[in-house]
């Protein structure tokens, strides 16, 4: 069984936020205005967050999404098992099960889960631009990065139709695919020959807040000296 993971090289990241835009488009995230953002209602699954890293003179911009922890604090506290760790290591959210208590959003130390405060809205000009592979979430439930799980399902179906095994290049989330600086590498951490496994074992690799015991599967590579 695969353990999907993402490596982000902070030395290559330019902070262009193409990943943020790609994610919003791919996953049908509702439109935001400066007003909704100021009210704490920005819907985004990935976001650049300033983080003080040891040895750096200024805060680094960390592309932050769900860290897909192997010991996820959000899963522990969910009263209805609406959020759970699936066998391939993806922390998933079952929208029809979620009661909207927002306990998981509060238990997550990375604050990466978002809540649908209202019915999602898009401007008229964006009508018909939604991704048919991703459901639009109703108001009142929590949502989060899924590592573009719908792409995994589609890739697996394509591979099965072609009568072959899933190849590493078949399944890549939108953020990793779009990154113009090639700072994001996605793959199977349990495969010792994969690029992600090699990078995750390197000297520059670290997991953010790993001291909390969350065991994230998003691995960052420190900026060079």
């Amino acid at each position: 069984m695969a353990r999907w993971g993402l490596v982000i090289d902070l030395d290559r990241c330019t902070g262009c936020q193409a990943c943020v835009v790609a994610c919003k488009h791919e996953n049908n995230l509702p439109f935001a205005t400066p007003e909704t953002t100021d009210a704490g209602r920005l819907m985004t699954w990935i976001q650049l967050v300033p983080v003080d890293l040891p040895g750096r003179p200024a805060a680094s911009a960390l592309p932050l999404m769900c860290q897909h922890c192997d010991r996820p604090p959000c899963v522990d506290v969910c009263p209805t098992s609406a959020t759970y760790l699936n066998p391939e290591g993806i922390v998933a959210q079952v929208y029809p099960r979620c009661i909207g208590c927002r306990y998981c959003t509060n238990a997550c130390p990375y604050a990466v889960k978002v809540f649908n405060w209202t019915e999602p809205v898009w401007p008229e000009s964006m009508a018909g631009m939604r991704n048919p592979d991703v459901s639009v979430r109703p108001k009142g439930v929590v949502e989060k990065c899924t590592f573009c799980h719908h792409r995994l399902i589609a890739a697996r179906e394509r591979a099965r139709a072609a009568g072959r095994d899933l190849a590493p290049e078949d399944y890549v989330p939108a953020c990793a695919q779009i990154c113009p600086a090639e700072a994001m590498v996605f793959g199977d951490l349990s495969d010792p020959h994969s690029d992600v496994a090699a990078l995750a074992g390197g000297a520059r690799a670290f997991r953010w807040m790993e001291e909390l015991g969350t065991q994230p599967k998003v691995i960052y590579l420190r900026e060079g000296e």
Binding site: T37, D38, A39, G40, R41, L42, Q47, V49, P50, V51, L64, P73, D76, V77, C78, P79, T80, S81, A82, R97, C98, I99, G100, C101, R102, Y103, T105, N106, A107, P109, Y110, A111, V112, V114, F115, N116, W117, T118, E119, K139, G140, V141, V142, M209, L212
Partner: protein
């Protein structure tokens, strides 16, 4: 039959114009809150001013506050019953009613806070046992059941008295609820036994309830929530606000129904002393909690600490400190100010202060998350304030309704210490245990 407790019975059977005016005003507030809730159901929780990362606000504050106040009745009445404090006799009933009613509003506030209240039953259908919210649901429902039984059982002899005093619909109503009580020595014996058992059983349940409420916060690893003393700290705060709620209710009931004969200075003085003890305990726990956080200097904990001591939440924090410690301690440690008026003032301050304490536990930790995502200063919306007002108004209405249906002071318990057991063979069934001994 002539009734020795005419003022108590009169309070039930007469409805004055003042009562009607209050009912009208409170009903208006409740109707407004229903409108606000409909609004929230339509627009979603976007009708609140909650956002990321302050996902919980006024509703959860009220939940913790109401569950805390619910420790008024059952716990205090049970402890006083067990230690056989005679002065508790006229006050246990009105305390137990607070417990049952307020607990419903505690649960209600969690429901108000749900994004999908239509799916609330998922917690029963698909419970995830490692979630403290599931523990909470379990312990609160047990507590609600136990405290309802604990309220109802001692009511039975009084309901029977009312049955014999009334006619019409009231008679039929009381007859049904009296469960055929005739007052035989055997019945008295059984009643005393059940009350004795229930008084012991409800204590661990009550302690578990507020411990588990605190664990909703303490089980996460969020700064200033993840604290081992949260369980006992919340229980102490709960008893503290509970006693204050009893005193407030006592003063109102005493004044409105003219029950000065029953609710004596002595009871207020004793409850005032209990409140003083809890004031000191509250200070001790708060001091221990904040000193260890400050001394440890862990940056994330300190960020929350500073936001409370000198940051945006400082007005709430220091007002809480004045309300929960400075005012009640000053009033209650002096026997000259520990009067009915004095304990009332102290109690109102304690209730306000304990609400502020719940607020400064819930909101500042969420406003200072570990990850520096964009944050904002939370201030509740009109919908949230309206629902809070509605909860208090609905509580007052239900409490007033109770006083018009049942004796707010336990009449049979006012008789001198009953000795029914020895004279179980006494021939004539009577309504009062004292009568059974003669």
């Amino acid at each position: 039959m002539s009734d020795p407790h005419e003022p108590i019975v009169n309070a039930i059977l007469t409805v004055g114009p003042g009562f009607k005016r209050w009912v009208a005003a409170l009903t208006a507030v409740v109707l407004w809150a229903i409108f606000a809730y409909t609004w929230q159901l339509y627009y979603g929780l976007g009708a609140t001013h909650l956002g990321r990362p302050v996902y919980w606000g006024l509703y959860i504050t009220n939940f913790v506050f109401f569950v805390g106040v619910s420790h008024a009745g059952t716990l205090i009445s049970a402890i006083l019953r067990i230690v056989q404090a005679e002065w508790r006799r006229p006050i246990t009933r009105m305390a137990e009613v607070i417990t049952v009613l307020v607990l419903m509003f505690g649960v209600g506030n969690v429901l108000l806070d749900l994004g999908r209240v239509d799916r609330a039953f998922n917690v029963v259908l698909h419970p995830h046992l490692s979630s403290p919210l599931v523990w909470d649901m379990a312990s609160i429902s047990v507590y609600l059941m136990a405290s309802t039984i604990y309220l109802f059982i001692p009511l039975i002899p009084d309901i029977a008295t009312m049955r014999d005093l009334t006619t019409g619909w009231r008679h039929r109503f009381y007859k049904r609820l009296a469960l055929g009580w005739t007052g035989t020595p055997k019945e008295w014996h059984r009643l005393e036994k059940i009350i004795g058992v229930m008084a012991i059983v409800v204590i661990p349940i009550a302690v578990s309830v507020h411990t588990v409420v605190s664990w909703v916060f303490a089980m996460t690893i969020q700064p200033m929530w993840h604290s081992t003393i949260f369980g006992p700290y919340f229980v102490v705060g709960a008893i503290f606000s509970g006693i204050a709620a009893i005193i407030t209710a006592m003063v109102v009931v005493r004044k409105v129904y003219g029950l000065e004969r029953y609710l004596t200075e002595e009871a207020f003085n004793n409850l005032g002393l209990l409140l003083l003890l809890m004031t000191c305990l509250w200070f001790y726990f708060t001091f221990a909690e904040y000193l260890t956080t400050w001394y440890g200097h862990e940056p994330r904990e300190l960020a929350v600490f500073n936001s409370k001591i000198s940051g945006p939440f400082a007005p709430f924090f220091w007002m809480m400190f004045v309300c929960c410690f400075v005012v009640p301690f000053t009033i209650l440690c002096n026997s000259r100010t520990r009067t009915i008026k004095g304990t009332l003032i102290a109690s109102i301050f304690v209730n306000v202060g304990m609400w502020l304490e719940r607020f400064t536990i819930v909101v500042p930790s969420l406003s200072n998350p570990r990850a520096k995502v964009m944050t904002f200063v939370y201030w509740p919306s009109w919908v949230e304030w309206s629902l809070m007002a509605g909860c208090f108004a609905a509580f007052a209405l239900l409490y007033m309704g109770f006083t018009k249906l049942f004796p707010i002071i336990s009449m049979w318990e006012l008789e001198p210490a009953p000795e029914v057991h020895e004279t179980a063979a006494a021939s004539e069934p009577t309504l009062h245990p004292a009568g059974a001994t003669s």
